[in-house]
């Protein structure tokens, strides 16, 4: 069993990045990040859409939280790395046909995992570029986007470092 303190899934990567760059959002991480990790395409579409709900507040997403962007970027990064860097679908989506086939066969959607081998310097550079581009395309300001990309690289490099995860010892993984 993979220890919970390591970073193998998008959820774990996103959690660690949030801790690094938006710690005030950590208490609400589970509830806020869930839709973006479970179905990133739909959640991203909703994020980009202009909403005009009757009897709503009316201005779409009022407060720009970092968690949704971090969750989407983490999803893209894990997809990219696990599909081997460079071949990944850059907008965060994986092969839709394969997903649909799995669904038809009734197989549960297994979250993508990072390879256990450490990433090379070239792979890390490409991952950083993907993370930066994704964060910018999701409307994050450059300074914050760069901080996010750096935090992603740090999390990937130090992914087995217990101190960096900051989790309570023995806490079960999600």
């Amino acid at each position: 069993m993979v220890p919970s303190t390591t970073v193998r899934t998008a959820d774990e990567l996103a959690r660690r990045v949030v801790r690094k760059i938006a710690p005030e959002e950590l208490p609400s991480f589970d509830i806020v990040a869930a839709p973006y990790l479970e179905s990133p395409e739909r959640a991203e579409r909703r994020l980009r859409q202009a909403h005009d709900d009757p009897l709503g507040f009316g201005l779409g997403d009022i407060v720009a939280m970092a968690t949704p962007v971090i969750a989407l970027v983490s999803g893209s990064v894990v997809t990219a790395v696990s599909d081997s860097v460079g071949k990944a679908v850059r907008d965060g989506t994986t092969n839709a046909v394969r997903k649909a086939w799995r669904k038809v066969r009734g197989k549960p959607q297994k979250p993508l995992e990072l390879p256990s081998t450490p990433l090379t310097a070239a792979q890390l550079a490409e991952v950083r570029q993907i993370a930066l581009q994704r964060a910018l395309s999701l409307g994050m300001k450059r300074q914050k986007a760069e901080a996010l990309a750096d935090a992603v690289i740090a999390a990937l490099v130090l992914r087995d470092n217990d101190e960096d995860t900051g989790r309570e010892s023995g806490e079960a993984s999600r």
Binding site: E25, S28, P35, D52, P54, L55, F57, G58, V63
Partner: protein, 703 residues
């Protein structure tokens, strides 16, 4: 040191938006009733079927609201069941603070992001909050303030009962669509069966599209107004959080005018400005007056047609229509102008612009009414003719000027709008009286001229007196003036206008100068009216000549009035045998001169079938009583055209009898033994004295 300008709270004034929605409701529901009526054939007494059809047309709207609400609820979970206890407590604290009149359920919409909305049944409101919004409750600084502001905004919707209005708007929108669909379906069948043209179908499709757009524009304008109202309510507890929330999106709000009008929420910039200076909300866009008037214009035509079909007396339909739609339209314009009067930088041209918007909206809207065309009879909208548009423009401009003057006059003594309820107590009834009367007159004038423009070119209307007149506009004006008791109502309206303007001014300044001005104005108006009344023969009796087609002895049974004016000869014969001359005549003064008439002689000695009228009052210049060797008679002097008609009538009907009627009372029916020439004719009657003959002569002369 300059005196600080008083701040006026927009919530102190009634909103014209409610009246705008009610005007829309009237238009849509009249259309629905019209189509239900037409589908069920209620003319033949199928009330049950009518109610079923009405239900069919309204059900889609109710169902759409129910389904939409159910989907929204299904996508959320009760906040208490999510384990987010702190967030739940934070929301409940705000609920306690705002204390809405009904119990509110709070739910979490997992996929809502940082959005929130109110949904559910109006009696059981539900607030659904997104996870990103809920996450703000525990964050420091302005993020917590934003959370509070957004939740209070949603609670303000609950507090104001906005779900009721939203439900009404949804039902109206879908009812409008379903009636449009049925109408187009019917027109398409007409095309398939070669009874209608494709051009008519395409024009009707455009009308349906225009009505749909109008409904959407009004429903969305109303929802935007409710958002402003909710913002102001939430701002009572602090405006900072709201400003932070709306300003985050301010830069992204560069939108086209069309998108602005189609949105359910005002733009962030507009909201931000309204929150920092609520008095901005006192002014409404002129386009709003236009859409309101367009809805009213469509309602005018549809209501009148409905009333005509339901058998309401022809004369009163335009009056009922004018008042039923004119009063809410006046109040809508009044609230719009009254709110604007208290605005800081009020536009002096506002009454003029509002009048222009009302006039153009009314004219365009009256031509949008689709449903009256669907069933074959086609009363069209307000005629685009100077004789109609000019009085309409003058009337609407006068109304807007007076309404504006009313509020600006009151504002002088009440700049802070602290006594608005007292103002409304006298201003609203006055506006209803003046507006109701004005639109009843204007609509009657318009409807009657419409009849002349549409009817007179047809062959069968050639014999109608008004169509033979060289000045039908003047004749109709005199008729409208007589029907409305013009002098009495004009004086009353002038007095109401003067009093409403002068009294508040006098209370403020304590000077009698405006009273003197008003008294002079009233006297001048009265003198003008008196002169008009003296110069114009307002009360001429309706005299006419009809060729006698058949006669019979007086014994008979009762008969429906309608059958007595049938064009079918066998129906005429039946009516003739059934007519009872001993009974009072229900058709007296109401018979249609363009149709044949079955009638008894004034002395009940004989019954006649008469042709449509060949000569009418308009052909008679003068009338006087005369004593002849055989008794008493009325001597008529014809106009030049009347003389020609008289000669033609007597020349072509030698050997026949010609009936002479006054207000549908048959005075005599002498036989024409030879063609008669000359500009006068002496008609005997059942007069027992010279005075009696004189009374008839006076009535015909109109003096």
């Amino acid at each position: 040191m300059t005196e600080a300008k008083p701040q006026v709270n927009p919530r102190a004034f009634p909103s014209e938006m409610v009246l705008l929605l009610l005007l829309l409701a009237a238009t849509v529901l009249l259309n629905v009733i019209f189509v239900a009526n037409w589908l069920s054939g209620i003319e033949h007494g199928g009330v049950g079927t009518f109610l079923q059809k009405l239900q069919t047309l309204l059900t889609p709207g109710v169902a759409a609201y129910g389904i939409y609400t159910a989907i929204r609820i299904r996508r959320s979970t009760p906040l208490g069941a999510t384990g987010l206890d702190e967030a739940n407590n934070a929301v409940n604290d705000l609920v306690l603070q705002v204390s809405p009149p009904r119990r509110v359920d709070i739910r979490l919409g997992k996929h809502l992001g940082s959005r929130a909305y109110v949904t559910g049944a109006p009696r059981r409101p539900i607030i659904v909050l997104g996870p990103e919004l809920l996450a703000l409750h525990s964050m420091p600084g302005e993020r917590k303030a934003v959370f509070d502001a957004v939740v209070r905004h949603e609670l303000a919707h609950v507090h104001a009962g906005d779900l009721w209005w939203y439900q009404l708007a949804t039902v109206l929108r879908f009812a409008n669509l379903s009636t449009g669909f049925f109408a187009l379906l019917a027109l398409w069948f007409d095309v398939l069966l070669n009874r209608g043209s494709i051009t008519t179908f395409l024009l009707s499709t455009l009308r349906v599209a225009a009505l749909t757009l109008l409904t959407e524009l009004i429903a969305r304008a109303f929802l935007r107004a409710r958002e402003h109202s909710a913002d102001l309510h939430a701002a009572q507890y602090g405006v900072e959080g709201l400003l932070t929330a709306v300003r985050t999106r301010e830069t992204a709000q560069t939108r086209s005018v069309v998108r602005t009008w189609l949105r359910r929420h005002p733009g962030a910039d507009e909201r931000s400005q309204a929150l920092t200076n609520p008095m901005r909300l006192l002014a409404s866009p002129v386009g709003q007056a236009f859409v309101g008037a367009t809805a009213a214009g469509a309602a005018f035509v549809t209501l009148q047609d409905l009333l005509l079909r339901s058998g309401t007396e022809n004369k009163s339909t335009s009056v009922i229509t004018g008042m039923a739609i004119g009063i809410p339209l006046t109040l809508f314009a009044a609230f719009d102008l009254w709110r604007g009067a208290w605005q800081e930088d009020r536009n002096r041209l506002r009454p003029l612009l509002t009048a222009a918007a009302l006039l153009s909206g009314l004219v365009i809207g009256s031509h949008l009414a689709l449903y009256t065309r669907v069933s074959g009879l086609a009363p069209v909208g307000i005629p685009i003719a100077p004789s109609v548009l000019l009085p309409l423009a003058v009337g609407v401009l006068g109304l807007c000027w007076w309404l504006d003057a009313l509020s600006t006059s009151w504002r002088q003594s009440d700049p802070g709008a602290a006594r608005v309820p007292a103002f409304l107590k006298f201003a609203v009834p006055s506006a209803c009286l003046v507006g109701g009367w004005l639109f009843a007159v204007l609509w009657t004038w318009s409807a009657r001229l419409r009849g002349v423009y549409l009817g007179c070119p047809t062959e069968q209307a050639k014999a109608v007196a008004i169509c033979q007149s060289p000045t039908p506009q003047t004749d109709i004006a005199l008729k409208v003036a007589r029907d409305f008791g013009f002098t009495f109502w004009s004086v009353l309206t002038v007095l109401v206008v003067a009093a409403t303007l002068v009294v508040p001014h006098h209370l403020h300044t304590r000077t009698l100068r405006p009273v003197a001005f008003a008294a002079v104005a009233v006297l001048v108006t009265l003198a003008a009216l008196w002169t008009t009344r003296s110069a114009a023969p307002l009360d001429r009796a309706r005299a006419e000549f009809r060729v006698v087609l058949d006669t019979s002895s007086p014994q008979a049974l009762g008969i429906a009035a309608r059958e007595r004016q049938s064009t079918n000869s066998s129906a005429q014969a039946e009516a003739l045998s059934a007519l009872d001359c001993a009974e009072p005549d229900p058709l007296r003064g109401k018979a249609d001169p363009t149709l044949p008439l079955v009638i008894c002689a004034a002395d009940a000695s004989e019954k006649f079938v008469l042709a449509p009228a060949s000569l009418a009052t308009v052909d008679i210049e003068d009338a006087e009583a005369d004593q002849t060797p055989s008794g008493y008679a009325v001597r008529l002097r014809f106009t030049a055209e009347g003389r020609q008609r008289w000669e033609e009538l007597t020349r072509t009907n030698v050997g026949k009898r010609i009936a002479f009627l006054v207000n549908d009372e048959l005075l005599s029916a002498p036989e024409i033994s030879q063609p008669l020439t000359g500009d006068s004719a002496e008609l005997p009657g059942p007069f027992t004295s010279l005075d009696q003959a004189k009374k008839f002569a006076d009535a015909i002369r109109g003096s």
